[in-house]
Amino acid sequence: MNRFNSYREEALQKWDSQMVHSEIPVIYLGTASCGIAAGALDVLGTIQQTLTELGQPARIVQVGCIGPCYLEPIMDIAMPGGPRVSYTNVTPQKAKRILQANLTEGDLAPKMAKGHFGDEAFSSKTGIPKFFDLPMLKPQVRVILKNCGFIDPEDGDHYLAQDGYAGFLKVLEAGPQYALEALKESGLRGRGGAGFPAFKKWELARSAAGEQKYVVCNADEGDPGAFMNRALIESDPHAVLEGLLIAGYTVGASQGIIYVRAEYPLAVKRLRKAIGQMRSYGLLGDDILGSGFSFDINIKEGAGAFVCGEETALIASLEGKRGMPRPRPPFPSDSGYNGCPTLINNTETFGTVPAIMRNGGEWYQQFGVPGNYGTKTFSLVGKVKHTGLIEVPLGTSLRQVVEEVGGGTELPFKAVQTGGPLGGCLGASQLDTPITYEAMRDQGSIMGSGGLIVMDESTCIVDMARYFIGFALRESCGNCTPCRIGTRVLIDRLEKIIRGEGEPHDLEVMRKAADTMVKTSLCGLGQAASNPVTSSLNFFAAEYESHVHDHYCQAGVCKGLFQYVILAERCNGCGLCVKVCPANAIAGKLRETHTLDANLCTQCHACVEVCTKQAILSLPLSAEQDHLLLSEALQ
């Protein structure tokens, strides 16, 4: 214990001297996968080169994801004595200029700065807003993501300096009962999707009979468009590991396992590193900190099957078997990995635990609403202006998330797919739904693990449904009849409608198949796979009907179910569309109204994308190119 305290002291001192009161500039660069994808590694090269050229000492700290992925790469500079200032969408050239300005001219380059982490006075002095006052960040709170973007995820000392492992120490001191009580009071519900009370699961695992028990962290995260768990692990791996350690101690397990997708190599690397650091701090192994508690953590890389995120399939996969769900009960808390009692929670659930243990359960209740306490991270993607990793209190409305955090859409908003591929597709009239487990379910959706995909008018709902059902079809394990064949029935109908061959009874067949899939499938995948179809049939019936009855796709997505027409009132004859059209289907002199030959048009979309006047419309095949009709269609 004394040894550990001295590690903590050292970490605090290091944090203070190197980060808070650094004598040399500190340069932060987000190098989680989102930053890297946006080019952060090139920027890193430039930073290093520029520092050498300038002959200036500075400390580069590679941090994780701070949230607004659309602003990546994000580079921050904290000059000695000054606050950290963020520069966004940084290119190597831009990075060089910013560095030169800051390091050699003492100029913050406020025009290029997006926000800072200092006080009001700094804002008024420089005109740079506070980073957390940016419209995307203002409605957010940071409990789970507290450290993300602030600490170097590969440096365990950084975590220690942020009260790291204080939650574990408190539980060691106060005993497992404290952990259970705190968890109960906090009301934390599983963040893997179903929202089962975490405390109940822990208590079941604790009271289950068995010498050998396991705790498993579910980091399979197979939903398309979801990256919350990846970002958390890449940005703050110790938080998840501390949660796992606390869980192990509380339920009496001696082995922790993290099941993480092999497609997340950076997350795996950071986990491995962090586990090594835990070991050197004496937080893993036999008789941890002299408490008599022994615990170790293994990593198991999953091969990327979505269904392996389902807990019983995950356990089968851990055991080296085919990743296929089995009927429950027995629940894993009674009979899980190798038949032993196993506690399995989502990455984010574990990541939340240390804060609850440090601050107590009541503290956690300040976030969210009764029955749905706390915060939840979402990956906000699609057609919103601000995409990224967000954290909001439960109970926040979808509207706030889409319009405030997401900054709305460029074209009119159409729908938001909530809860990932198994969730529901909700329209504008559902936007005031509060994000709680129950409200989501009542709308025919699920909370899921937290993917939010926003769509605007350019998305065809039928095509969207086909995409998600296609995912379920490929990812269904094939074990049970309704899911294996039902998904196929749905996709056959949807494709038929998209080809323009839809008949009214196809909609009936889909509803019927969906209903039986929900009621009779063996696991959550089949039970929820039809949600995108059912919810879109409910909320966007007119769009299905126009596909089926009029063979018309208003969004201009289903090829052959519309024709592009250039609206004379809007066309300014700029000629952009003429240049991009690969089929030479558009003609017109500069500054004169252009025309589009539907016979040549391949409906590739290129013209619509470049037209700044939104003058190219998708109209029904039967519509005459008549002025009046067009204006009518416009309204």
Binding site: G478, C480, T481, P482, R488, A513, S521
Partner: protein, 364 residues
């Protein structure tokens, strides 16, 4: 003990039993397809779903254990509708060649479709997705177009024969049963016991030797005991026009249940084989008393009557015993004989000839 109701009937039963077990004990029929009493239940076909009051989803009766106060409906509108659609799902992807299918009449899918009056839906992906008769195994005929992925074959092989030949490959709609890692059955250590055929509820796995010879209602089943070894397995001989055309497992067989080995299940073709010996034969020189030469016609086998053959044997026994003593003779009996016959042979050896030199081929 727990108290539950099934379709309004109050039942007291032991905790730990499944809904299906309790229903069966109380005469309540629940349809099953992937379930088989000999195999561990997997709950994958979803035919046995029932409605449990308060549950959001239907429960598979074969894997759901009863609990105190459980209220179960096995015939509610919801249940019937879902079972029907589940059958439609299966049929929508099943070849509709029942008219010429070998297992027509004993196919469990066909029976359920009949019971539930299921029309084959217009939607679905019928047709041939896999090669017909796709495996070179000499005994098992494989046609996975008819497979409903109940996995009984996988389990029968793993749990009864413990050979793990069958497995499941791919996912979702593309899922299919494969031998080994996509090899032939024999390459995957198959010993051709045919357990998978016996447990397959459809025509996906059937018998190759008698393919196309008869259907269930056209044969007479004659229960018999296998004559190949001393285990005493029972099975049914399938008899058509007074000819044995095949063997099928008899689920009530006391020793072996449905299990058989390759000889028991497929080693019946000797019965009507043209090479089979139906009368005794002796060497010509013994019959005609001619001098035996080294080669040539005196060594030919000649068909004769039993009495003649036995007289010769008796005469030779006597000569040998008189010349060199009883212990220069030995008696080997056969597992293909009945116990009574073996007993008599032993009497003959000890009491008539006077030797204890007795042995048997079935010293298993």
């Amino acid at each position: 003990m727990v108290n539950i109701t099934i379709d309004g009937q109050c039942i007291e039963t032991e905790a730990g039993k499944t809904i299906l077990q309790v229903a069966k004990e109380n005469g309540i029929q629940i349809p099953t397809l992937c379930y088989h009493k000999d195999l561990s239940p997997t709950g994958n076909c979803r035919m046995c779903v029932v409605e449990v009051k308060g549950g959001r989803f239907l429960q598979a009766a074969c894997v759901t254990q009863v609990w105190e106060g459980m209220e179960i409906s096995t015939v509610s509108e919801r249940v019937m509708k879902d079972r029907k659609l589940t059958l439609e799902f299966m049929l929508a992807n099943h070849p509709l060649d029942c008219l010429t299918c070998d297992v027509g009449g004993e196919c469990e899918l066909q029976d359920l479709a009949y019971d539930y009056r299921v029309e084959v839906p217009s939607w679905g992906a019928k047709g041939t997705r896999y090669p017909v008769d796709s495996d070179p195994n000499p005994f098992v005929r494989v046609d996975f177009n008819k497979c409903i992925l109940c996995r009984r074959c996988v389990q029968a092989c793993a749990e009864i024969q413990v050979r793990d030949v069958w497995g499941v490959a791919k996912r979702g709609f593309e899922e299919q049963i494969v031998a080994g890692a996509g090899t032939t059955m024999l390459e995957a250590r198959c010993e051709s016991c045919g357990q998978c055929v016996a447990y397959c509820p459809t025509g996906a796995l059937s018998n190759k030797m008698n393919y196309g010879t008869a259907r269930a209602h056209q044969v007479k089943k004659v229960t018999t005991t296998c004559s190949y070894c001393g285990v005493g397995c029972q099975f049914d001989l399938l008899v058509k026009n007074d000819k044995v055309i095949g063997v099928s497992s008899n689920p009530d067989a006391p020793v072996n249940g449905m299990a058989l080995c390759v000889k028991g299940r497929y080693g019946y073709d000797y019965i009507h084989h043209h090479d089979r010996l139906l009368k005794p034969r002796v060497r010509r020189y013994l019959l005609e008393g001619v001098k035996k030469e080294r080669t040539g016609s005196p060594w030919d086998w000649v068909e004769t009557e039993w009495d003649t053959a036995l007289d010769i044997v008796a005469k030779k026994f006597k000569e040998t015993r008189d010349a060199t003593g009883a212990d220069t003779l030995g008696f080997l009996t056969s597992a293909k004989c009945l116990n009574e016959e073996n007993y008599l042979m032993n009497k003959l050896a000890r009491q008539v000839i006077g030797t204890n030199n007795i042995d048997h081929c079935a010293r298993l």
